[in-house]
């Protein structure tokens, strides 16, 4: 079978993404409209009468049929305009471009931490399965999966920020203005999310590495007299890298979701805080905008992971 060019593959995948984006934003929009509670009441202010609330619905176009409202939003998006917050009038694109780097930095830190701790743990556990090292790693991994991120976050704040005063307890700084300050602010939330990632990486890596190491060609390699280190680095890890890329793509998506809670604990103005505020106030352009962004990020991450997998393992047909 002839291989398709990467450009066509990417184009095809992006085309497939369109219905996903449509479906996701439509479902979220429908959910927001189904949930009782109404932004018109908020917009109308503290002293509102029924008549005033009806009037407000009219002014902001909230009295139009559901599909018309969604259509209007979609028409704007097609023209590259994510529209603006109903409540404060800030451009949704502005809010997102300000919030996204904060979230991205936390996820990046969490991912790096998860990998630099998770990979060695997985490897040393796989070398001697069922040894005490493996058992310890398994225990730490189970803990990492079991401990809720927000709980760990609060413990970290109490110990490291409030008691020792090493790292700030709240807020975020812009990476482009002061990278070091930005990382200092993002470190604790990063660690809180990384714990789960570390556990996941270690467990998955151990599993797939064990499978590779027990295969026949590894036995042959042993027989040829290759050292364990060379087998591990030259053959073992290369073979599990496909699994690793898949784990990473799943992790990034999960970590993005985890920021919703973690950002609240650390008062970080990122995408998670943004969508929570939008949802609570029923400010649907904000929610729609964030969902739209998240869907695109998830699709991109999956696409990159798939491309990388195919590059490492040509057997994977794109």
């Amino acid at each position: 079978m002839a291989r398709r060019s990467p450009a066509r593959v990417i184009g095809g995948r992006l085309l497939q993404a369109l219905p996903v984006i449509l479906l996701a934003t439509f479902m979220v929009f429908a959910l927001l409209k189904l949930v009782p509670g109404d932004i018109a009441v908020t917009l109308a202010g503290d002293n509102a009468t029924d008549a005033r609330i009806t009037e407000i619905r009219k002014i902001y176009g909230l009295d139009r049929p559901f599909l018309v409202q969604y259509g209007a939003w979609l028409a704007n998006v097609v023209q590259g305009d994510l529209s603006q917050s109903l409540l404060t009038g800030e451009k949704v694109a502005t809010s997102i471009s300000r919030a996204f780097p904060n979230t991205l930095l936390i996820v990046a830190i969490a991912l790096v931490l998860a990998l630099v701790t998770g990979i060695p743990m997985g490897v040393i556990a796989a070398i001697k399965p069922d040894g005490w090292v493996d058992k310890t790693v398994s225990m730490i991994a189970s803990l990492g999966v079991a401990i809720p991120g927000f709980w760990l976050a609060m413990i970290l704040v109490a110990e490291i920020s409030l008691k020792l005063n090493w790292l700030p307890a709240t807020g975020a700084k812009s990476f482009s203005v002061s990278p070091i300050e930005a990382i200092r602010h993002a470190l604790l939330p990063g660690i809180a999310i990384a714990a789960y990632g570390m556990a996941e990486v270690a467990r998955q890596l151990r599993g797939s590495l064990l499978e590779v190491l027990s295969s026949q060609y590894v036995r042959t390699l042993h027989a040829k007299g290759l050292s364990m280190t060379r087998i591990l680095w030259q053959h073992g890890l290369k073979n599990v890298s496909v699994n690793l890329f898949t784990i990473i793509s799943i992790l990034v998506n999960r970590m993005l979701a985890a920021t919703v809670v973690i950002e609240a604990v650390f008062a970080i103005p990122g995408l998670g805080s943004l969508i929570v505020r939008g949802a609570i106030q029923r400010d649907f352009p904000i929610v729609q905008g964030v969902v739209f962004t998240m869907v695109i990020v998830v699709i991109l991450v999956n696409l990159v992971a798939d491309l990388l997998c195919a590059a490492v393992d040509p057997r994977i047909e794109q």
């Binding site: 509670g37 009441v41 709240t170 505020r277």
Partner: protein, 515 residues
């Protein structure tokens, strides 16, 4: 070099008195000095920085810093006092004359004169996006009768107006800025005449303002600027103060007080506010269409215990919609509903519910609300009422109760108070008011008394009118007030000169920072 003026001495004395009476450590120590940035943790993103189009009660904490009001209020009693209007008078019951202070300018340099005041009042009254039309309902027209004099013609006598002009309706926006902006939208580009001028607003993140160097109050404000970090999670907000990222946090939850106080560098101020926890009743449908049931409901509540158990003692038991410190408080009404479960049972029996009465109330699902509900459920149970709460998020619950659905017989919520009490009463206890959840009829003598409370500007006459209003509301048991929440403000010891106020919406008039 700053000189202490007579005004400042007065402020210090008032502050000290407030400290003594309100139980806070309000003594300003040392001489106020200029400089520094006050960093505040604010619990909510403003809905708008335009006083006319905004809606949330939490906006004032920002608006008051950037906009000065035509009248101001006394911190302790909320009696109106001169602001941008240095004096006012009713030449007859339907004519209010405002004399504007001379020499005041907006942040953009344009003059704050009679024309500007007229422009604002008319905008607030008739702009389609204005949320405060109702506040100025009685105003028929505003006319410039001198370079610094505006005369308001009223359709009905409205003595509440001076109080109303201390809130959104009296916040003056630069007409030049409104005219220059697209569709007159200044929600994100506020230009007022307040102590601080707007610098930037990043939604849900930060609001930055800087000192208005041409502010009309001498030597004010002291700090170079204020930075509000918007932190909706209140425990996170208080951590930001104890960990030193912020200097001050308002709306500290009572349960956090003990935790925050453990930090040695933090002090906490508290004082009563108009913010009252209460159960709004739907008296248009059973069981609360029966006055005996409503009265029994009120007798069943042990407010003292409620304050101790649910609010860590940091509240004042509420027997009506005004706290003790308010200028219109009437002591005699406070004795109407002592805790008396036997009396409640007797009233229920008379109403035909001898074997107990199931009641469904609407409530909120957060931890603090549920705790309040549990305490009340137990109190009602002892009086023969089997109360069940239908909980939903705030927006949903209040829309369901006050809107068309009419869910539940009552809602455990709160009333944030208004600068003039006549607003509080007319917004809840008139036939078509939104906060009269059932839109049920109101005793005609109550409607008349509410009207009467706005008829005269004489404060003694108004006090009497409000006494009647309060008595009628409580005798008819149209609401079950529970407790006035204290304003709790945590700050590090650098912050000086802060004073709590009865409205419970923070103002930073005399705040300065120790270096």
């Amino acid at each position: 070099m700053t000189q202490t003026t007579r005004r400042e001495v007065m402020a210090l004395i008032t502050g000290a008195l407030a400290g003594a009476t309100l139980g806070g450590d309000a003594f300003a120590q040392g001489t106020p000095k200029r400089g520094g940035i006050l960093r505040i943790s604010a619990p909510a993103n403003p809905s708008s920085l335009d006083p006319a189009t905004g809606g949330a009660g939490s906006d004032h904490a920002f608006l008051f810093t950037m906009y000065d009001t035509l009248t101001e209020w006394d911190f302790e009693t909320l009696k109106p006092k001169p602001g941008l209007a240095e004096s006012w008078s009713f030449s007859d019951p339907t004519t209010l004359v405002l004399n504007i202070r001379s020499g005041v300018t907006f942040h953009d340099g344009s003059p704050l004169d009679a024309e500007a005041v007229k422009f604002n009042l008319e905008r607030n009254k008739s702009d389609p996006k204005s949320n405060i039309k109702a506040d100025l309902a009685a105003m028929e027209s505003a006319a410039v009768t001198g370079p610094l004099q505006v005369t308001l013609k009223l359709s009905t006598p409205d003595a509440a107006l001076p109080g109303i002009l201390s809130d959104r309706a009296g916040m003056m926006v630069s007409p030049a800025a409104v005219k220059a902006s697209a569709a007159g939208n200044v929600a994100r580009t506020p230009v007022g005449a307040g102590a601080y001028a707007f610098v930037s607003w990043a939604d849900g993140e930060k609001i930055v303002i800087k000192r208005n160097e041409k502010y009309w109050k001498p030597n004010r404000p002291y700090p170079d600027g204020i930075e509000f970090s918007i932190i909706p999670e209140l425990t996170t907000g208080s951590r930001s103060v104890t960990a030193g990222q912020n200097d001050l946090m308002y709306q500290l939850p009572p349960r956090q007080k003990a935790i925050v106080e453990r930090a040695s560098n933090i002090k906490i101020f508290n004082g009563p506010t108009l913010y009252v926890f209460q159960i709004f009743l739907n008296w248009a449908k059973p069981p609360f269409d029966n006055i005996k049931v409503r009265q029994a409901f009120n007798f069943a509540i042990d407010r003292e215990t409620f304050v101790k158990a649910a609010l860590a003692g940091l509240a004042e038991p509420a027997y009506m919609n005004l706290p003790k410190a308010h200028w219109a408080y009437d002591k005699s009404v406070a004795g109407l509903y002592p805790h008396d479960p036997d009396k409640a049972k007797k009233l229920l029996a008379e109403a035909g519910f001898k074997d107990g009465l199931p009641i469904e109330l609407v409530g909120y699902p957060d931890q603090d609300s549920v705790q309040r509900q549990e305490i009340l459920i137990e109190q009602f149970r002892k009086a023969g009422m089997n109360v069940r709460f239908l909980n939903a998020p705030i927006a949903e619950a209040s829309a369901a109760f006050f809107g068309a659905e009419k869910r539940g017989s009552g809602i455990l919520a709160a009333w944030t108070g208004r600068p003039d009490p006549s607003l509080t009463y007319s917004l809840m206890f008139t036939k078509d008011a939104y906060y009269n959840g059932g839109r049920g009829a109101v005793p005609p003598e109550l409607e008349a008394a509410i009207k009467e409370s706005r008829a005269s500007e004489d404060i003694e006459l108004r006090r009497k009118a409000f006494a009647t209003v309060q008595r009628l509301v409580m005798e008819n048991a149209l609401v079950a007030p529970l407790a006035f929440q204290f304003e709790l403000v945590a700050m590090n010891k650098k912050v000086q000169g802060y004073r709590p106020n009865l409205l419970g919406k923070p103002k930073y008039d005399d705040v300065w920072l120790e270096s």
